[in-house]
Amino acid sequence: MANVGKTMRTPLRRVRYLGSARQGTGESWLVHLTATALVPLTIAFVWLVLTLLPKDYNGVRAELGHPLPALVLLLFVLVGLYHMQFGVRAIILDYVHGHAREWALIVNAFFAVAVGAACVYAVLRIGFV
């Protein structure tokens, strides 16, 4: 604020475009939307894992070959990773600074997409191959 008084620029000019004006609720909405979906999906996922526990390789593949367990897994993984990436992003923005922040954000995005692709590929392969 040292140059206030020397120039005609107001403090408002200095902060403009530095905030999240009008778009700040978008990410929050998506975090809450995915969280809402994840409550029943988590319960269904835990239930599914419990039904898989006594099964061997062939039993697990037969169970995951059915549409409902496969859909529960796909939705849990995809919605979960989308939700997770927002959460990790918030933690990175709080604790990581400088160039490391950009790398951390890149790793975060790549991790979510790579794990998501691997899980979707695996579930589809079990169901269709």
Binding site: M1, A35, V46, V60, L64, G87, V88, A122, I126
Partner: protein
């Protein structure tokens, strides 16, 4: 989008708001931290899930490696941690939904909600594992 003048501005010498280090540690503060820590823990958990799905999509020998790991002591500890992190984080989310509705923010309720999340997460984990050992 930041203009160049914002980076060249001298550091402000205005008073800072008190940092969280000066406050007495409360249960709601610890629960805020555990919500983040369990969230980060679930990043490891999803890798375990990915390994399980990939190994199941491959041949029986690949699945046997995953099976051997998850039945080992370390594998069980990781799975137990994953179960707790998942259920604790889920209940933490439900607590945030209750707060979003404008309820449970006052003195006795927010403490009770924090305790309910903590005890509920541990209780649900033990129940799920009891069912797991019963059906396996």
């Amino acid at each position: 989008m930041a203009s160049t003048e914002s980076t060249s501005a001298p550091p402000p010498s205005r008073p800072l708001s008190p940092h969280l280090g000066i406050y007495r540690l409360t249960l709601t503060m610890i629960m805020s931290g555990t919500h983040r820590i369990t969230g980060m823990g679930l990043c490891v958990g999803v890798l375990l899930l990915a390994w399980f799905l990939i190994s199941a999509s491959m041949d029986a020998s690949a699945f046997a490696i995953f099976s051997a790991f998850i039945q080992s002591i370390i594998g069980r500890l990781v799975l137990f941690g994953f179960t707790w992190a998942l259920l604790h984080h889920m209940l933490g989310g439900v607590r945030h939904f209750i707060w979003d509705s404008g309820r449970g923010l006052d003195d006795p309720e927010r403490e009770q909600l924090a305790q309910a999340t903590l005890i509920g997460g541990l209780a649900l984990t033990l129940i799920v594992w009891a069912i797991g050992y019963a059906v396996r």
